[in-house]
Every structure is written in C-alpha cells, then in structure tokens.
Symmetry: C3
Subunit: 345 residues, 3 copies
C-alpha cells in the first residue's frame, strides 16, 4: 500500500497544512481506531472530543478547528469531501486487466473496446458496445444494442436489457437490473392486458446504482437518470421516471411511473414517491415518507408517524380513526362556550 | 417495422373508424411527440387539449370523444385497452430461436421441448420440464423438477428452486427468485431453529413477475399465484401466501406469510400486508398502506400519513404521541360545559 | 423417504410419549390435511378444535394439552420447536455431491475443501477459501479473499464481494449480495464524491439470509452480522450496521448505516431503522414501523397509522395536518371554561 506525505496531499487537494509536511500516511481510519500511519477527519464538531484521544498520524479539520488539536492537521472548508479525496487517493480502485474471459459469450456484432475487461460467463448481445476501460463483471448480461460508456464498472451479475444506454464512469453493483419492462397494464373486463414497453433506460455519466436496484424501461418514451445521480440498494425506479442530475436516494426507495424528480434532491430510505408528479430541484424527502403530490418548492418534507412503545401506541392509535369526530366535538364545544360567554352575568 | 392500415386494425380489434381506412401506422406514441406514422390515444379526458396540437397520424378515443378532433380516429369503449392491443400488434415480442446454447448445462433427465430456447449459461436440473416455445434466458437456473409451461419467457438470471411450477405464457423478469425458503423459525431458548420449508410455489397461467421480486415456497402447503396475476418489481411474497386471479401489485409491496388475497385486487406501491389474514375480492389497497387485519368487503383502503414541510410536520407530529390525552381533555371539557350549562342563570 | 418410530423420535428429542411407540411417521403436515403417515403439531391453543378432526398419525402438543386428543402424542414444553426438529429429521437437507463442476472457474490460488461442492458457472476468486462440506451453488460469485465456512450453503447466484467472511452453517439464498459498497458520499458544491468503502462484511455462524437481501461492506470498519441472525428476503443492511446474535428480521426491512442492533431482537416486515442509533437487546419492532432514534429498553415498539376505508381516511387524514391548531384550540377552550367557572354565580 502506498504512503503519501502530508505535503503531497496538500499540493494535490489544497487546504492549509499545520504541522510536519513529511509525515506519511498510508490509510484512512476513524478517529477512534486510527494509528500513526492513518489520516482521520472530523466532519461534525459534536465529536470534537474524539480529537483528544486519537492516535491518528494526521487529521483533516474544518478551518474553525485549527486549535482543537496539536496533531498534524489539514484545515479546509469541507473536511468530509477532503477526506473522500484522500481516501480515493489511498484506495485506488482495483484495476481489472483488459481482455475477454475465455468463458464469456460475445456476439460477433458487438463492439468491445480493447482496453475493456469482460468477466467469466458474461454475455454481450448483438450490436452492444463496451467503451474504453469499462469492466463488465462475471456473469453480467448486456442485451442487444446496449451501450456501456468509458470507465464504467459493472460488478458481477448485472443485467441490462436490450437497447439501454449507460454513460461514462458508471458503477453498477451486483443484482442491478436495468431496463426490465415497466408495469404497464390495461384492464379489460377484469383482466390485464400487457402494454408493450418500447422505451429505453438512458443513464448519464458518473451515476452509481446500488445492489439489487431496478430501473424499468419506458413505456413509450425513455426512463432517464441524469448525470451524477446516486442510487443506493434495493431501489425501484418505475417506467418513464426522470431523475435530475446529482440527486441521491437512500436504500429501499420506490419511485412510481412518470414521476419527474428535480436536481440535487435527496430521498431518505424507504420513502415512496407516487407517479405522475413533479418534484422541484433541491427537495429533501425524509426517510419513510410517502409523497403523494407534486412539490414545487425546495425544502424538507416529511410524513412519518412517530414511534412509541406498543402500549402507548395502542392508546393513541385508536383516536387516529376518529379525528374527524374529535374535530367536530371541539367545534361544538366552541359554540357552546361562545353562547355561555354571551350569557355571562 | 411493419405498418398496418387503420382498416386492418379495426377489422382485428373492433371499434368504429372515423376517417381514411388506408392510413398506415407503424408505431404507437404519446400525443405530445407522435408524428404522421404514429397512432396515439386519449384515455383520460383531462388531457383532451393535447388532441389540438398532436401530429399523430391517427388516434384511439372513447366514444364520447367523437367530435374532439378531426384526425383519423378509432372510437371504442376502452381506449387504453385498445391501445394495448394495437401496441402489441405493432411491437410483437422478440422471438428467440429454438435450441439450446452450447454453454447451457441441461441435466440428462430434463425434458426440454424442441421449440424452446435455452440461453447461455442456463442450468436445467434433474427432471425439469420446459414447454413448447418457452424461453429460458441466459444464466437462468431451474432446479430439479421445475416445470415451465408453454410460451413462458424467463429473462436472464431468474432462479426457480426445485419443484416449483410455472404455468403458460408467464413472463419472469431478471433477478426473480421463485421458491426460496420461507422465513420459518421456531424459537427455543432465544435461538432460532429452522423449520424445513417443504411446500412449493405454484404459479398459474398468464402471470407476469417483475425484476428482483421474490416468491417463497410454502412451509408445508404450497404458495399459490393464480392465473393472470401481475406483480411489479421488488415485491416479496412470503410462504403460503395465496394470491387470487387477476390481482395486480405495484413495486415494493410486501405480503407476509399465509395471507390470502382475493381476485381482481390491486395493491399500491410499498404497501405491506401482514400475515394470516384474508382479503376479499376487488379490494384496492392504497400505496404505502399497512394492512393489519382481514378485509371482508370490496373497496379502497388507506392508512397513510399526509406529508407536509418538515417544520409543519414537527409541529403536528408531537401531538400524535398525545392523542389519548387530547381526547381525555376534550371529554373533561365536555363535562364541565354540561355542568356550566345546567347551572346557567 | 425414511420413516421414524415415535419411540425413536422421543429418544432423540425428549418429551413424553403418550401412545404406541411403534407408530411410524414419514412426514410432517398441518392438522387439517395430515394423514396416518404424518405427524402434526398444535402450537397455539386457539386452534385446539382442529385436533378433533385431524387424521394425523401422531401429534406434538404442549404438556397442558395431554387430554385434548386420544391420538398418539408427544407432550413437550415447546411444541413448535419440537416440530421443527422432527421436520428437520424427516426432511434432511439435500446433499450436493462433493466436487467442482467442470464449467466452474476457480482461481489457482483459491483453497476449496475436497468435500465442498462448487456448482456450474460458479466463480471463486484469488485466495478465496471454501470450507468442508460447503456448497457454492451454480452461478455464485466469490470475490478475491472471500471465506465461506464449513457446512455453509449458498444457493445459486449469490454474490460475495472481495474480502468478506461468512461463518459456518450459513444459508444464503439466491440473489443475496454481500459486500457491495455502502452508500458513502460526500457533497462538494452540489456534486457527490464517492467515499471508498474499505471495510468488509463479517458474518458469524448459523446465519440465514433470504433471497435478494443485500448487506453492504463497511466504510472504514466492518459491517457485522453476529451468530444465529436470521434475515428474511429483500432486506437492506447498510454499511457498518452491527446486528446482535439471534436477532431476526422479516422481509423488506431497511437498516441504515451504522445502526447498532442488539441481540435477540425481532423486526417486523417493512420496518425501517435509521442510522447512527442503538437498539437494546430484546427489542421488538412492529411491522411497518420507522425507528428514528435509539431504544434503550427491551419491549415492543410501534409507529403505524391504522388503515380504514379510503373515505373514512379522507375525513380523518386532513386533521393530521392541523393537530397543532386543534391542540391550541383545546387549550384556549380550557382557559375560557376556567374563567367561566371562576365567574359562576
């Protein structure tokens, strides 16, 4: 594992170094377990007292924390982002050697860059294209006409249905399914007719998609994931959804058909966004929240029931079914009191 | 891509043609982007004004919309279902050539129809049966004794555990797992003993199951999915669940063990249905709703907390934990007012 | 299928036999469909009347049910646990023959026990280790340095990313993904920087993980699943989560990053546990509940909105957005009534 001098790090990423520029660090670690060869960071002032006990060789701090330690330190505006860059430097991605595993099945009409890596048991369909330095993991399946951009990384057992497009520097984790049919059904006399799903999924650059997440192809138009979107695991993105650039969604989120979500939004874990609505840029949806109509203004939105002990919940929950009566009773008491007040002696 | 005359379409599917029967359409498209070679549709009168601007070559309309446009039009009772049929005509399913890919592993005792297609890296276990014209996608796994009916289509990387039965014309999307063990555990002194799951999954005809959905095998009896059921992506169906014919469930639904769900129900995205309960035919469960007990009557059922800005939510949510006290206070005020009224001068 | 004498069963598992020790049973079945060759059980006294009609050859009962039937019966303290053991005896796990399928790809530096079974199209990476009698199903992927303990069973198409550790007697169902990157992102000027995820997933002994469940690798430290944990299908366990021994979670649960969950907890289906919190031992979270802060005491916790017909819900739900005003109004009425009472004639 390579070591870097603090001086080199500050040369690359900026910030102000306080302390010995020749100290070398090999790895990142949390303050609590860091040793001399580690560089750590403090992003949240409420953990400041961990600085007192840490054995880290160096720390990355906000500029306001200059005096919070005597350790060698790098002061910067955004310590967590700085830490991300240092960690990426110290933990470069594993590079797969270029070439096609002998067990892979590549259609004769597919175009695979010479610098790409295709794993064991991978399948690349007719006319599919795999860009420079892309890695298609073992057991991945690229349908006919799929395009995977340069430097993209598909972990083992990703499936991309025919015709879908994945941009550059994508990271798709195992079990991801891109381009399965959207849930398009027409009801005729109590039975469901399938509506062919003839759109694609089009994914921009710098998108990461977590394990077992699914993104359905569009019914008529495409489903679109713009640049820089980050989706966690087990998310379901339905047909014709449009997710704006640099939006991030935590695990288990569901987004229903034709929802149009803005840029730089965040969606908390387990939230559900219903279909055929629009969400503005920079909207933040809390975990577990159900969004049932369009949101026009940036801000944070929430709809969760606070938890309590089951016994307390039992006492309170029964009233939820009678709030309307409670409101009526309140209005009636108001009227009676008004009358009593008018008749006051 | 084939083109069809409007006259031919009306001959096949009925409806009343207003306009030139010789106009040809090649593809379906939404009103907003359709061109002369496209046929479009209007299912919801609230989008009627899109008819004014569309460049579609023809449109499918409800009988009440006869005068809403001068375009060539097909009038019918159920425009969306009609559209589904026209789209299926214009977009026939891709036909996989019959035959077994040389990399597939087929047990010698399996019976694969000569007209079936078995993809690369597929595995077909002992005594498994694959019906006429069925397609087993690349990397699929059929356990011992599995049966897949005629004309069924398994997209790449579907797993069917041993002994499970899939009917005719099924569509199973990538990442589907049929027949994994149900969550059967007995607690003994704080530890869990596994209860063997010896039932199967039995799936009827014309069932579609979305990407990464899981249907567990029964503990003792079978888990049953009746004809015409449509399951979207990322759904979990637990052991011994019974889903009645032509019921449809949107993405991310969870159904707990031994729930018995009627026919022609719909379940909205992210809803959870608890176990050991019964739901009548034609029950509609709203998205995000938790069903905690049996439902005996058809109708729509809901249990969601409306969302609001986080600040408004903060103000209101604290009271949810004190509804019981609020109700008590209300009752007390009622008593006091009654007393005051009795003592009125 | 083997048959066992009731006498043999009691010798193995204890309990008191009432009736003929030479009666043989071949299989387990529910009371309602059991025949003479079946042994059944009654775990819940509320189904006692099923004992009257059953045709089971023998039954397993709690000691209090001694007189509830004249059938041959085994009396014990925990009939469901006893039943689990009998069923495991009558339904021994399918044993895969040892050996490596000729299509599997095993790195030369991997160490695979001679008694292990490696299925078709499986991939075992550099330096990976597979223990005695372990079964790696068809199409599984073990990354570099992965360890799978003795007697563990991976069903087809499980993916384990590099460096992750799985203990003994694990059962991992199809579609499980262990060790994908946690959702670690730092925001810099509206764009997301990836934080390398350099921890592992470490899974203890006797853990079962359901189909399509995902467990992410740690960001810096490891994600830890202790001994005897049971996870159902479609669960998402985020980075650096710690799940205590013998905790069980039902389907579709989401656990956010760095949550620390105690021992012998249960979590109901569809519940969501937010990150960076601690849950004590023996906490039971109800289905559909959102846990937003630490829980220090054992017990049952709930946060669900009761469902109702959609029309009733419409009437009540509007008030949820105005509870704060309702509380204010109530306080105001209280003041007015106090005043009226003070002024009473």
């Amino acid at each position: 594992m390579m070591a870097y001098r603090l001086g080199e790090i500050v040369e690359r990423f900026g910030g102000e170094l306080v302390g010995d520029a020749d100290i070398r660090v090999r790895q990142v670690a949390p303050l609590s377990i860091a040793q001399a060869e580690h560089i750590s960071f403090l992003a949240n002032p409420k953990y400041r007292r961990q600085l007192l006990d840490t054995r880290a060789g160096a720390v990355i701090l906000g500029t306001a924390e200059r005096e919070s330690t005597t350790l060698p330190r790098i002061l910067c505006d955004n310590p967590y982002a700085y830490f991300a860059k240092v960690s990426a430097l110290l933990n470069p991605p594993h590079v797969e050697p270029a070439g096609i595993h002998p067990t892979a099945v590549i259609d004769a009409t597919a175009v695979v860059s010479g610098s790409a890596s295709i794993g064991a048991f991978a399948f690349v369909g007719k006319g599919a294209r795999v860009g420079e330095h892309a890695v298609i993991g073992a057991g991945c399946h690229l349908g006919d006409g799929v395009e995977v951009g340069e430097d993209s990384l598909l972990y083992p057992q990703v499936v991309v249905y025919q015709g879908c497009i994945i941009g550059q520097r994508a990271i798709l984790h195992s079990g991801v399914v891109i381009g399965a049919d959207g849930f398009g059904l027409a009801n005729e006399n109590g039975r469901w007719l399938k509506v062919p799903q003839i759109g694609r999924v089009v994914i921009g650059d710098d998108v990461e998609i977590g394990a077992n997440t699914t993104v359905d192809r569009g019914a008529l138009d495409d489903t679109v994931i713009e640049d820089g979107v980050k989706l966690d695991n087990q998310i379901q993105v339905a047909h014709n959804v449009h997710i704006g650039a640099h939006t991030a969604m935590a695990g288990c989120v569901g987004v229903a058909g034709s929802a149009r979500i803005g840029r730089q939004c965040t969606v908390g874990g387990g939230a559900v966004i219903l279909g055929h609505l629009e969400i503005a840029d920079r909207v933040h949806v809390s975990a577990g929240t159900l969004i049932t109509k369009s949101i026009r203004k940036p801000g944070e939105y929430t709809s969760v029931m606070p938890f309590s002990t089951h016994n307390d919940w039992l006492k309170n929950a029964s009233h939820l079914r009678h709030l309307d009566k409670m409101a009526e009773k309140l209005a009636e008491l108001e009227r009676k009191i008004d009358e009593l007040e008018r008749n006051k002696p």
